[in-house]
Symmetry: C2
């Protein structure tokens, strides 16, 4: 028990005794067992994080920021990928909760998951990232998807484009739906008729886009609502020998480093990925500290249009 006091820096340990204890600790390579500490009611100093895909550049940046923030606060993080499958997600959440963890950070595979309701009513604090749950009100951090889409459309309108088509992949995801809504709002505001097309993979992209560009009303501009879609569309346009921005302008959503290396460099709406991670980690840690479950906090982070050349602008500097 004197050892315990020494390690935890309690007062009332004779300096000499403390010295002996430290010496022994070093000599034996003693490490306090966290499992035992947890059992006595101490906090586990750990949080859980579940993302759909750790290999995805967006989620990996978010995860890195979360882990870094947690580490600086003395927390360790369990990290799991759901592969976009709710059942895996739920199982991993259960595993983490039973360890137990002090809190959970989650990018839900399905924002309608009913298990989230049960989870949220439990005692473990939980914060959803990027995709707020639609089944239950939880603390959440997300970005201005709707505003970002409006900015993209706005910019294309500024270039004089009227036939702006919205191209979408994974339209079941909440953020993507918000972007579509933003696109439609801005189009209607301008008295333009919105047109939205779903792509599921490169094959459908090819047929959908070639039909689109062969049709009577060829678009003058495209708004691709997420990164996967932007890449798929760029590949397809090249295959169809449709040149950007000469034949059609393009603005995407979600900025990726290598967009600056493409020809033309891609104009896109940038999400503050690292900031999203830091903010959600901080929010969760704060919830963990203040046992008093204060009111639900939903944070929305701003996005920013990064103008490069695919929209038709020339020689714009990045940043």
């Amino acid at each position: 028990m004197t050892v315990s006091r020494t390690i935890n820096g309690h007062p009332y340990v004779a300096a000499e005794t403390a010295k002996k204890v430290h010496a022994a600790i070093r000599q034996l390579g003693y490490r306090p067992n966290r499992a035992a500490r947890i059992l006595t009611g101490q906090s586990s100093k750990s949080i859980g994080l579940i993302v759909p895909d750790l290999a995805d550049s967006f989620f990996s940046v978010v995860s890195h920021a979360i882990q870094d923030t947690a580490r600086q606060a003395g927390y360790l993080v369990w990290l799991a990928a759901s592969n976009g499958t709710s059942s895996i997600e739920e199982a991993q959440v259960e595993e983490m909760a039973s360890h137990p963890v002090d809190g959970i950070l989650l990018v839900p595979a399905d924002s309608h998951s009913k298990y989230l309701k049960r989870l949220a009513s439990g005692s473990t604090p939980i914060v959803t990232i990027d995709r707020p749950s639609e089944a239950v009100l939880t603390d959440s951090v997300e970005v201005e998807n709707r505003v970002g889409a409006r900015m993209a459309v706005e910019h294309l309108i500024g270039h004089g484009h009227k036939k702006i088509v919205c191209l979408v992949m994974n339209s079941h995801l909440r953020p993507v739906r918000e972007r579509i809504a933003g696109y439609e709002e801005r189009m209607r505001q301008e008295k333009l008729s919105p047109k939205k097309l779903m792509l599921s993979n490169e094959a459908t992209a090819k047929s959908v886009l070639s039909a689109l560009f062969d049709s009577a009303d060829r678009p003058d501009a495209l708004f691709t609502a997420n990164n996967a879609c932007t890449i798929c569309v760029i590949k397809t346009l090249r295959a169809l020998r449709i040149e950007v921005p000469r034949d059609v302008a393009l603005v995407g959503f979600d900025d990726v480093d290598f967009y600056t290396l493409l020809k033309p460099p891609v104009t896109t709406v940038r999400q503050p990925a690292a900031e999203l991670g830091r903010t959600s980690a901080r929010l969760l840690l704060q919830k963990i500290k203040s046992e008093a479950s204060t009111s639900t906090i939903r944070t929305v982070l701003p996005v920013k249009l990064v103008v490069r050349e695919s929209c038709g602008c020339k020689n714009q500097k990045d940043h």
Copy 2:
């Protein structure tokens, strides 16, 4: 105790009793506490993973594969980034070890770290990934860095190039040093004189490359020894208006998805990132199972030259 037996599927529990127990569990939302289980000497069913940078595309792919493999084996994973700093790495390893974890997977920030020696002599199994420790012999999984570099040079020689310069970033890393060695070996074998240049950032890249191309013996080909370097060189060559492959051929090391989207598409040596993750996770789990510390296993995975166009080849198909 009957509950314990029921949960753990022990024999000799009356069917009726088991039913009651299950009912109660469901009703109460009971979850067995892992910390308590660990304390009784059970395995924690968890492993630790430390990479330099989780936001890096290579490490995020490796991490994803590791987590997926671990999950399928019923293991949870602690994930931390060292940010390339040994002291952070060591502290995180300590944290994980004291939880405790059943084993640790590590991409060492510094392969000379002395703490690894202590760690390796402990009872926690440990496997190093990508960068074997040079301070102590541990189980490890890496790729054929030397062979890969030889393949790259070989291919450039096949194009008739003789003045092949090797460009390097982070030359302190073991894999990078191996690649340089492979490059030099193959050059000497061909009676060509190797020439190696260090780049530390885009600014030095610009001065180094412009000096190189203004000099008397302009290179006909470049071998960039890692991904960061390849991107930096591509940017710099563009700024200097040196065209690939017309003015100089280029082959890189480490394949990245978007290389196919660049003009010209980049020819590169592909490392099996996901395979690296799966293999190392499997090796660690196997070490954990067989308490008997069998002999040290060092696995080396093959790499593959992916020919695209930056080397001077035309219209090659990816794969």
